[in-house]
């Protein structure tokens, strides 16, 4: 399996529901096309260096996944069809990738990120409350 990463930019004025639905859709596209997602990193709303389709802002999403060339072909086709996607770029990281090892490594890094975050939550009640709400939404 090959290891890819893709960055796609969604329209800046998307509703939260639309945005979530689209993320879900992209994820399922990868799974359907014999791929496995490793990591989804939302960069949030960023100002574009130049306007794309008259949009000056966009939601950046970075996703890492494993799969064959057919996975990327299908994914890029879907992104091209969807007019809420402003732009996307796929980069191949490696030709031979061990999916399980990558997933394990990813889980460890997320754990490390979560642990200090949990400590912060305990330290300040206010931020802890807001974070708890966010988690509820995701589930």
């Amino acid at each position: 399996m090959r290891h890819y990463e893709i960055i796609y930019i969604l329209k800046g004025d998307l509703a939260e529901e639309d945005y979530r639905a689209l993320l879900e859709k992209v994820g399922s596209t990868v799974e359907k096309a014999k791929g496995q997602t490793i990591k989804v990193d939302e960069w949030g709303l960023k100002t574009l260096a130049y306007p794309i389709k008259k949009y000056h802002k966009g939601h950046y999403v970075l996703m890492e996944f494993c799969g064959g060339p057919e996975t990327t072909r299908e994914l890029e086709r879907q992104l091209k069809l969807d007019d809420r996607v402003l732009k996307y770029q796929t980069v191949k990281i490696s030709d031979q990738a061990d999916v399980e090892a990558l997933k394990a490594a990813q889980q460890e890094t997320t754990k490390k990120e979560e642990e200090p975050a949990a400590e912060v939550e305990k330290a300040s009640d206010k931020s802890g409350d807001s974070k708890g709400e966010e988690d509820g939404d995701k589930e």
Partner: protein
């Protein structure tokens, strides 16, 4: 024509103006910790001019290998709107 038959010049060293480049060191070779990543526009911006052009090797002092990696990274970043292709003067 005139120059050809000119009497021999007083022996002035011809290459006087050269030889004052100081050897620049490739930043990426010197520090192994610095990596070139197209997802990091802040780092890449350092190697572009204000107008968004890539700074040539002779100015930045990068080695060929790293300059090559850098140009690819900058072009990828441009493609995904992290870096500008150019900055428009009219706004």
């Amino acid at each position: 024509m005139v120059t050809r038959n000119r009497p021999a010049r007083p022996s002035r060293p011809r290459r006087k103006r050269r030889h004052f480049h100081r050897r620049k060191i490739c930043r990426f070779c010197a520090d192994g910790a610095v990596s070139i990543d197209y997802k990091d526009p802040k780092a890449l911006r350092f190697f572009t001019t204000e107008r968004g052009k890539i700074i040539p090797r002779r100015i930045s002092g990068n080695c060929a290998k790293h300059q090559r990696m850098l140009t690819v990274a900058i072009k990828r970043a441009r493609n995904i709107a992290l870096l500008p292709f150019t900055t428009s003067t009219v706004k």
